[in-house]
Symmetry: C2
């Protein structure tokens, strides 16, 4: 029985492995780095024995020297949108398959997100991925000062800085406008969520632009104010009571749309889709449930996650890369039961 195995509670270290193999720790260590110069037979021996003993290098000791931690910080807040939990777990799984670990920074109150990020930075993540959070600019700067570039996923940084992975929300907004217009809708409106969110602004702009280009007046704007069911619901109730003519609505995202529809139905004055068609954005799982069957513009989610993970791998190796924004084409508009053709539709 080897020394390493005898000592039960303790992890196997390079020293154990070196003694076991009758080599120096330097040689053993080098065997784990493909670029390091070691006799190939030596390397084979080391790796074989390491696997047998269950040796795993201690990442803390490693990072003390290499200044890399293989840790990805993930900042989340404001999880009223079911879009993000899906992304969070799926992307964590992908990052773990790439050998990186995810450390979470979460806050139950927006103003505490800064403390959470501070604590996270203590562990020197190689980079930080920001989901959903309205992270203040100084938080991003703090990350970068600590050597961790930030990738904003879906929603971009308010100041436009940092890395970003998103879809072409403007093109998505255009798809929604085309769908409603092609199906004969005349009275369009946009249900706006958080005004400070790039996603909200861009979807609105695309929807508007396309409507105008196709000869319509700029669509009315209904302010929901936040990306949540409750906000959508209130907006739906209010819009139904306002008495303004309305037959085609594009909502900032799915959860707002689902709330909006409930609000409209609740009003008892109009029905979806009989009187009003509603289009969402994201295609979250819930949108496909028989309960909702929401017509929506899909996000190119797999592509966005793949792009984020691949960018993360690059940044983990070399932080010095110019920040840029990756914008993927939106997914298709998925027609379900919350929109229908009106008289005069051309589609």
């Amino acid at each position: 029985m080897s020394d390493a195995q005898r000592d039960k509670g303790r992890r196997v270290t390079v020293k154990d492995l070196a003694r076991d193999l009758g080599m120096s720790v330097s040689t053993v260590s080098r065997a784990f780095y493909p670029d390091a110069v070691v006799a190939s037979e030596t390397r084979r021996l080391v790796l074989e024995r390491a696997a047998a003993l269950g040796y795993r290098p201690n990442p803390f000791a490693q990072s003390l020297i290499t200044k890399k931690t293989q840790i990805v910080g993930m900042v989340v807040a404001d999880l009223t949108n079911p879009f993000y939990p899906e992304v969070m777990t799926e992307m964590t799984a992908m990052l773990q398959e790439a050998g990186m670990n995810v450390m979470l920074a979460a806050a139950n109150q927006p103003e505490k997100i800064d403390d959470a990020v501070d604590l996270l930075l203590t562990y020197q993540p190689d980079l930080v991925i920001v989901l959903a959070a309205n992270m203040a600019s100084h938080a991003r700067e703090k990350c970068e000062r600590a050597g961790a570039p930030c990738i904003f996923f879906n929603r971009l940084s308010a100041d436009g800085l940092g890395f970003g992975v998103t879809c072409d929300n403007e093109a998505g907004g255009r798809l929604a406008a085309d769908h409603l217009i092609d199906n004969g809708h005349k009275h369009l409106a946009y249900v706006s969520a958080f005004p400070g969110a790039s996603t909200n602004v861009e979807r609105h702009r695309g929807f508007c632009t396309q409507a105008v280009e196709r000869g319509f007046a700029p669509p009315a704007v209904i302010e929901a104010g936040r990306f949540s069911y409750e906000a959508g619901y209130a907006a739906g109730l209010e819009a139904a009571s306002a008495g303004r003519p309305l037959d085609g609505v594009f909502c900032a995202n799915d959860i707002v749309a689902i709330g909006f529809i409930a609000g409209v139905q609740e009003s008892g004055r109009f029905r979806v889709p009989d009187d009003i068609s509603v289009v969402g954005f994201d295609d979250i799982t819930m949108a496909g449930w028989p309960t909702h069957l929401l017509t929506t513009v899909a996000q190119p989610l797999d592509g966005m996650m793949a792009a984020t993970v691949s960018l993360a791998r690059e940044l983990a190796v070399d932080r010095r890369q110019d920040p840029h924004i990756l914008r993927l084409p939106p997914g298709r508009l998925i027609e379900r039961n919350t929109t229908r053709r009106r008289d005069g539709g051309i589609a």
Copy 2:
């Protein structure tokens, strides 16, 4: 300008701080440990200067010596239940407030959860919290061998080992039975989710026991098989078509109940609550939405999370504690719109 400040990119270290203060690193280090013996004036000076320079001890260097990492591993999988994202982020926020950081282990396929846990263990978490995952026993053993006790949240470990924080699901099942029986329901059924889940088993048992004690036959069991909307939906469709008499249904949890109701409605043969009353379990946010207004047994979520965090703090200090299970009383039954009184009700 101090040495530390001049050197922009680099973090302030104890050495910097010691030089700045004209003390030894030992003394500086001790100042951060309340139990260490240092002149109180010296400690004051150190802490003051540390705050000014933004010094934060490097947790990797610390953990190399102390063998504590202040890292909590959180294992998640199978996130079809919206209950868990809420818990995950809220509990992360609470743990961060207690100075601990959360590292995630996620897998998009159940069989990969083991690799994810292995990678996680590399970072030597002080303990592991298991959410939702059907973590195999050997994974728990692996954690414990690596020095990280496991806390199972909500759903207990299949082998009953490890720490656990859950609510008294059996009492919750009884509440559901009482509510339905008090309101005159005669034909009860339980919609069963994952048969291997302690929550499923216990809720079923409580519901059954209480019905029998009150003079009813053991309620029928409708197998949904999983804790998901889709599973509930299929069960609802099937139950509505089966033609068996049915007027009061208790579902394994909210998301199953929401799916079940949609399935029943879809069948067109019965309506909720006019023909069939449905009770869920959890009181997730969605249950309170006007779309659903689900009658449900609430989880004592705040209590469960507080208990978990406090147990985590204890275990982070001393791992040697006998594993035990904390079982909190269930929350109230919240009556909403998916149940109604039938003739003969006594309530």
